[in-house]
């Protein structure tokens, strides 16, 4: 299979503008003849659905939540990057582009990243126009801060609730279009399958989570904005409902899944407290601007943090990476924490935690400044742990947070299945092997507001509107398959809960396909997953029926997909026989611990093709060209 990225040629600085001009348009009077399905209403989905409706398209949007305002985008705390250079500190579109390509460890498409940096400026303008209450200076202008690994202050924020405020902005735009009739909103409906007819996407099958009813929805195009798959690890910072089902079922219908092994581990989360744990809470990375990370120098030191004198503390990030210090990129910070804990110097009851200490910052800036910057985060920490970060250092540990991998898309954000698009975290496009802090919100909104509204027209102009029919045999077949699968899940009558399988899979993935990976562990994982899957399909139990709200059935259906998808992830991690960004293969490391890339062999996107459950998927390559930024080993020393 030849993967054509449809990337424009020529000067990267004008590529997007030229591409926009070269793309086909749809006559305003004809737009209403086209129907677009958007699945997922987080930042990417809500912004896209609203923008499509404003243009005059006929939109149907789906969320499995009770309201589009609940999506997990809402949980992003720290901020959103934009190359505004409001701080006069030397930022530019080129610098954001450079930082993102370098941060992604040279595994992203240059043209996509440049476009992302360009439109980042429009996002801030758009959100401010919507009434998003970003933080401001006394002069009334927007405030910025520096964030996770950036040497310029380009991050815009709304207290610790940036994701929430941006999502509410997109939700308000969506609400406006629902009111005007441009968007038909479907709440509490979960996408169960993509319907493909003669190789072209024609619609979806959904399950009404209240009544259990399966429904067929057809459209000219389907846009998946269904988020990431971080919950494959069971414990992650993702919301409980986040899952891979929509993306994975598209994959089973022919869409390639790109770079699934690129999963980001966030360095600052609250450590695990016990077996009951359902999720790990993220503490915004912005805390590292003022907090200092340390562990005791001595192994197994059980003294209270206040009793450990300065000279017996190891501020390991400041020691190892003097120029970036506590702001070292996420993957580096995460692995350094793991190294310290594996070395027996971890804190917390489990030994898997490190301190994040604000004592010096409070002394330097005063408690009120710290409260203004991080008040709500400190409160959240205290609510969960019962410990006040004003009095004692926080304890943190890395957790799965974001997935850079996703459905393969071309420059127009279309998958290899014509008519099926993927945006936001659900696609793989812009972050390469590692995402920079405050760039997830940027990408979600870039895709939804400023990229797909243009690129979708280019596809629509090539088709006849309304050429779909829910009575087609493909819809019939797809609905039957979904029904049979749900019936099978309900009929096993075994002895284990859906969650117990999810936890078992998650632990296996975290141990072997988590922060650090090696050949032996990956091969073992590929052997073990089918056994868990086998037991799942023979020993699962779900009380109740499918014709009602059944939370155990919803969970089981999602776990079933994780149990297949996990294998693709492990294959990708195994066959990418190099380290890059967040993908850290223990066999390929420089003496100082930095990831060792093999640019000659692996400077490509790995896009996996489905070949049947339990079969090794087929690996396709999209070569990456770096014409504007030269390969370099990342150095944050």
């Amino acid at each position: 299979m030849v993967l054509n990225s449809n990337t424009p040629t020529g000067d990267i600085r004008t590529a997007w503008d030229n591409h926009k001009f070269n793309m086909k348009l749809i006559n305003p009077a004809n737009k209403r003849k086209f129907k677009i399905i958007v699945v997922g209403t987080g930042l990417a989905g809500a912004s896209a659905a609203a923008s499509f409706a404003e243009l005059g398209y006929n939109v149907e949007a789906f969320t499995f939540h009770d309201s589009p305002r609940r999506a997990h985008s809402i949980a992003a705390q720290g901020g959103i990057n934009a190359a505004k250079n409001y701080q006069n500190d030397g930022d530019s579109v080129w610098r954001l582009f450079y930082d993102t390509v370098k941060g992604g460890d040279f595994r992203s498409r240059e043209a996509n990243v440049y476009r992302l940096s360009q439109v980042s400026k429009n996002i801030i303008d758009q959100c401010v126009a919507q009434g998003v209450p970003f933080a401001r200076e006394y002069g009334g202008l927007l405030a910025n801060r520096s964030f996770g690994g950036a040497q310029v202050s380009r991050t815009f924020y709304a207290r610790g609730q940036t994701g929430q405020q941006l999502l509410l902005g997109a939700y308000s735009a969506l609400s406006k279009e629902i009111q005007k009739g441009g968007v038909k909103m479907h709440n509490r409906k979960e996408m169960m399958d993509v319907v493909v007819q003669d190789g072209v996407s024609k619609g979806i099958i959904t399950r009404d989570l209240i009544t259990g009813k399966l429904e067929r929805h057809a459209a000219d195009v389907v846009v998946l904005a269904t988020g990431g798959y971080g919950n494959v690890f069971f414990l992650s910072t993702n919301a409980q409902a986040c899952n891979v089902t929509a993306a994975y079922r598209a994959h089973k219908k022919g869409a390639l899944f790109a770079n699934p092994c690129y999963t980001q581990i966030h360095p600052t989360c609250i450590p695990v407290s016990g077996d009951h744990q359902s999720k790990l809470t993220l503490m915004s990375e912005s805390l590292r601007n003022d907090g200092r990370v340390w562990v005791p120098k001595k192994k197994g030191d059980k003294r209270k943090p206040a009793d450990i004198p300065e000279n017996e503390r190891d501020y390991y990030l400041e020691r190892k990476y003097p120029s970036f210090g506590n702001l070292a990129p996420r993957d580096i910070s995460s692995r350094s924490a793991k190294e310290a804990c594996d070395d027996g110097r971890g804190v917390a009851s489990t030994g898997y935690g490190v301190y994040l200490d604000f004592k010096d910052a409070i002394k330097r800036l005063g408690k009120s400044t710290i409260e203004e910057r991080y008040g709500n985060l400190f409160e959240m920490y205290e609510r969960i742990t019962g410990v006040s970060p004003y009095e004692n250092p926080m304890m943190i540990y890395p957790a799965s947070h974001y997935t850079m991998g996703g459905l393969w898309v071309d420059y127009n954000l279309m998958t290899n299945v014509p008519g099926l698009f993927a945006i936001g975290e659900a696609n793989f496009s812009d972050h390469g092997a590692n995402r920079l802090g405050a760039s997830a919100l940027m990408q979600g909104l870039a895709d939804g507001y400023f990229v797909i509204p243009y690129t979708i027209a280019n596809y629509l102009a090539t088709i006849t509107p309304g050429n779909f029919d829910t009575n087609a045999s493909e819809f019939e077949q797809s609905e039957t398959e979904v029904r049979q699968k749900l019936e099978k899940l309900l009929s096993i009558n075994g002895k284990r809960t859906p969650t117990s399988f999810h936890r078992e899979l998650g632990k296996l993935m975290w141990d072997n396909v988590g922060m650090a990976r090696n050949e032996k562990g990956l091969k073992e994982t590929i052997e073990k997953i089918p056994a868990i899957r086998e037991e799942f399909w023979n020993n699962l139990t779900i009380p109740g029926s499918g014709a009602q709200l059944n939370i155990a059935l919803e969970k089981a259906s999602r776990v079933a997909d994780f149990l297949e998808f996990a294998e693709v992830m492990a294959w990708d991690a195994l066959e990418r026989d190099e380290s890059c960004g967040a993908h850290y293969r223990e066999e390929h490391v420089y003496p100082d611990g930095e990831a060792k890339r093999k640019d000659d062999e692996f400077s490509h996107v790995a896009a996996w093709e489905y070949t049947g459950v339990g079969n090794k998927p087929t690996r396709h390559k999209e070569e990456l060209e770096f014409e504007n930024i030269k390969f370099a080993v990342r150095s944050y020393k």
């Binding site: 758009q126 009434g131 407290s273 359902s278």
Partner: protein, 251 residues
């Protein structure tokens, strides 16, 4: 610790619900309230009983999906805290806990502890936005906003749309929810062009969706997990009055 739970079980909207007693032991104080329910649900599933349905998602107090009335209080006993952020260290060994759905006329029960809160979306759809299209907006810094106003707008915008204010109100009013959105936009220059129409439309929808009126109990503020001030309610009433008066005099 060991606890005695009384949980509202209701098969569907049409059925009669009732409180069912469950004894749970081995509850750790580090568990969140919802994790305690997760553990109970795991047991129920293994006994071939249907899991207790409750809404939840982010489990970090921001998505507004979780609800529950715990011992008569929406989101439970700890102020400024959502149910998902409530931890079991708030309770002690031997406690009896009553767990019910958010109760309000406008929020019909779907199943067990799950209610339908879409009327809140309807309120927003009737005017809780600035009517701008994507693109064609000015540079963000061309619109300076007084820091004090921006901060106050953020106080209002912190609303997570959980509906605790409605469940806490003896009248089932959505005044705090509605006034928070109106307050946010009234404080900002972006909200000015539609200011009058917005307050009229949103309060009208609020009435039409079955929410009650405000009789100044202030239970909403006490229950709000984001501690949003009832001051926004009095501001909204002023906004409404001004809008109505001006519509009389400026035809």
């Amino acid at each position: 610790m060991k606890l005695k739970l009384h949980v509202w079980r209701q098969k569907d909207p049409a059925s009669q619900g009732r409180l069912v007693q469950y004894d749970v032991d081995d509850v750790s104080e580090d568990m969140s309230f919802l994790e305690m329910l997760d553990v109970l649900n795991e047991k129920l599933i293994l006994q071939n009983e249907e899991a207790i349905a409750f809404d939840h998602d982010c489990r970090e107090g921001i998505c507004g999906m979780c609800s529950l009335t715990i011992n008569g209080k929406p989101h439970g006993p700890q102020s400024g805290t959502t149910t998902c952020q409530l931890h079991m260290r708030t309770f002690k060994d031997g406690d009896e806990i009553y767990i019910e759905p958010f109760r309000a006329t406008a929020f019909p029960i779907i199943k067990d502890l799950v209610v339908d809160r879409t009327p809140l979306d309807k309120i927003i759809q009737s005017g809780g936005y600035v009517d701008v299209r994507t693109g064609q907006v000015q540079d963000a810094n061309n619109l300076p906003i007084r820091k004090k106003n921006a901060d106050l707008a953020m106080d209002a915008a912190a609303c997570i749309g959980c509906g605790a204010c409605v469940a806490a109100c003896p009248n089932g009013a959505a005044m705090l929810f509605t006034s928070a959105k109106i307050g946010q936009l009234a404080l900002l220059p972006q909200g000015q062009p539609e200011r009058k129409e917005r307050v009229v439309a949103m309060t009208e929808t609020m009435d039409n969706e079955g929410f009650g009126a405000c009789t100044n109990h202030y239970e909403c503020e006490a229950a709000c997990p984001k501690s949003i001030s009832v001051k926004f309610i009095s501001d909204m009433n002023k906004e409404l009055m001004k809008a109505k008066v001006s519509s009389i005099f400026s035809m």
